[in-house]
């Protein structure tokens, strides 16, 4: 079963500035968890610490009871899938080839094996990119490429999916599709963590929202509670109002605080 992921007293300094300052949080699987916060608040830094890609100056990310960094890179990669914020695709490979790179933690340079092929096919079905299988990635649109990259992360069948700004560059339809997909992954018992800039989207899709500002969490909880007007004012310096929409609460951003 998926073990919980936690940050324990994580501190990271970059260029003399404390990006994260003794941040602790415990994340349970089976939920869609959104991390929001202003630019430079340390969302990506926190994500890369949780994914075991960065060693914090102090503290540690824990998977279950064990520090993430104590796992071998290969074992860690099988359990935690990571989608970087600015994905790079160096060569014009076919979409299917790109998705199969997600199996690298399992296979050597050789073939994928039956299980690997099945996982690749399943990941491509889930993200609706099966039809793109033999297109080379340089001919894909931004949205198609983003979905192929999500499929790449899913092909590794990770317990945890950490996605840094996975919705950037997607049109509203595909944003909703991606969120539905993350929801399904959570229902399967996996852990899903993503960073977002769109607070309305966070309100809509998250089971739990973490608001990151000034090196720590200034709010943590259910979306409506965590994204209160006071929190938004404090985090972003923006006045916001919660309105009752026909399909649930709607967040209206009024303007700069004091402006």
């Amino acid at each position: 079963m998926t073990e919980p992921l936690a940050a324990s007293e994580i501190s990271v300094r970059l260029g003399g500035r404390a990006i994260l300052d003794g941040l602790s949080v415990r994340l349970a699987p089976g939920q869609v968890i959104c991390i929001v916060g202003p630019n430079g608040a340390g969302k990506s830094t926190l994500m890369s610490c949780l994914a075991g890609l960065r060693r914090p100056d102090r503290g540690a990310a824990l998977l279950g009871e064990a520090p993430v960094l104590s796992l071998t890179p290969r074992k860690r990669a099988r359990r935690i899938g990571f989608l970087p914020q600015t994905p790079e695709i160096a060569w014009a490979v076919e979409a299917e080839t790109l998705v199969s790179l997600g199996r690298i933690p399992y296979v050597g340079a050789g073939g994928l094996g039956v299980e690997g092929h099945a996982a690749v096919e399943r990941a491509m079905r889930m993200t609706d990119v099966t039809g793109l299988a033999h297109r080379t990635v340089d001919t894909l649109s931004g949205g198609e490429r983003a979905r192929v990259l999500i499929a790449r992360a899913l092909a590794g069948d990770p317990e945890w999916l950490l996605a840094d700004e996975p919705l950037a560059g997607l049109d509203p339809g595909h944003q909703i599709d991606a969120c539905d997909l993350f929801r399904r992954l959570a229902l399967e018992g996996r852990g899903v963590v993503m960073t977002l800039h769109d607070l309305g989207m966070a309100l809509r899709v998250a089971d739990r929202v973490l608001v990151l500002a000034d090196g720590g969490l200034i709010a943590d909880g259910q979306p409506l509670a965590a994204l209160s007007p006071e929190v938004i004012r404090r985090a972003y310096g923006v006045e916001a109002r919660l309105l009752d929409g026909a399909h649930g609460p709607v967040l209206e951003l009024v303007g700069r605080h004091g402006g």
Binding site: A51, P73, P87, E88, I89, A90, W91, V93, I104, G108
Partner: protein
């Protein structure tokens, strides 16, 4: 372009290498037909095969493999289609190591000194290159770093020539620098072969990491690739393969640039499966070029390094032009 299954591609290229190697044993100023093989030393041309053509052919295969696979590995690691041991100055650094050993007369003491210094020079070259270019995968930074390295190595080599004690020393250095497979002995082969084989073998193990690097350094790290280890493996492999090659044949450029480009579309652009076919295609290219060089009717044999530069230079320009068009 239609993708070929890698085993079939390798088998085809392997066959091509065997055919070219056979031709390389026969072709030259003196045509040695296959029947001489059966003469068991009776025919005077027997000596040509065993003293000259066999070392030359085997060396051609090894050096071609070394340069082809080094180019493919460097391109995969840097995600830069213009990477090549020659273009990036690694061969020049190896050549500088060789020149220094010739200049100071160290090469006379032991046959191992020159290859050791050439490998050392190549290693230093790769490390400086990776440091200069940093962790960015920017094509421009990388090529510029290579230009810097190339200039420094060339300047130091020129200085050695400038200060060379005798015209014979200059002659020796220049002849070696031009790059050739001609008149290499079994002894040369024995010295270089273990290092080249080790380097090529090391580079062939990097396929999984290079595949992962298609997704950039962060992507590769998230797939469980230990980047620091892979960087060490790559620099060691390139240094051994290129350094030992340069030590016996001098600088032969552009093989590592041209070969992966021709092979890449056939393997669907994946950097991992590109390695072995690039090694084989490199061997084929060097053998073919060396045969052409031998058969060229000129007073003195055209040096292989010169011939490769004549083919490779325009090819490099063509690649640049195509990249510019794509970026525009």
């Amino acid at each position: 372009m239609r993708r070929l299954p890698v085993p079939i591609l390798c088998a085809g290229l392997g066959l091509l290498v065997v055919l070219l190697a056979g031709l390389s044993l026969m072709a030259g100023r003196v045509w040695v037909p296959f029947s001489v093989w059966a003469s068991y030393g009776q025919d005077p041309r027997w000596a040509i095969i065993f003293e000259l053509r066999i070392p030359r052919t085997v060396l051609g295969v090894l050096v071609g493999m070394a340069l082809g696979v080094s180019g493919a590995a460097l391109q995969g690691y840097t995600r830069n289609p213009l990477a090549d041991p020659g273009v990036l100055g690694i061969s020049s650094m190896a050549a500088l190591g060789g020149v220094l050993s010739l200049y100071f007369g160290l090469a006379v003491d032991s046959p191992w000194i020159l290859p050791a210094l050439a490998i050392g020079g190549a290693w230093l070259g790769v490390i400086v290159l990776l440091l200069l270019a940093g962790s960015t995968s920017s094509v421009v930074t990388f090529v510029l770093a290579g230009v810097v390295l190339q200039s420094v190595a060339t300047a130091a080599t020129a200085l050695a020539l400038n200060l060379a004690p005798t015209p014979w020393a200059v002659n020796e250095i220049v002849n070696w620098l031009l790059g050739s497979l001609a008149d290499r002995s079994i002894e040369d082969l024995k010295i270089a072969a273990p290092f080249i084989v080790a380097g090529v073998a090391i580079l062939l193990t990097t396929g999984r990491a290079l595949d992962a690097l298609t997704l950039g350094e962060t992507g590769a790290a998230s797939l469980g690739v230990d980047l620091r280890r892979e960087r060490l493996v790559l620099t060691a492999g390139v240094a051994l393969a290129v350094g030992a090659s340069v030590a016996v044949t001098g600088a032969i450029g552009f093989v590592g640039l041209v070969v992966p480009h021709l092979v890449r579309p056939l393997v669907g652009s994946r950097p991992g499966p590109l390695l072995l076919p690039s090694a084989l295609a490199g061997a084929a290219l060097v053998l073919a070029a060396d045969i052409v060089v031998r058969l060229t009717p000129s007073a003195a044999e055209v040096k292989l390094g010169v011939a490769m530069a004549a083919i490779g230079g325009p090819f490099f320009l063509f690649l640049l032009a195509r990249m510019r068009r794509r970026l525009a």
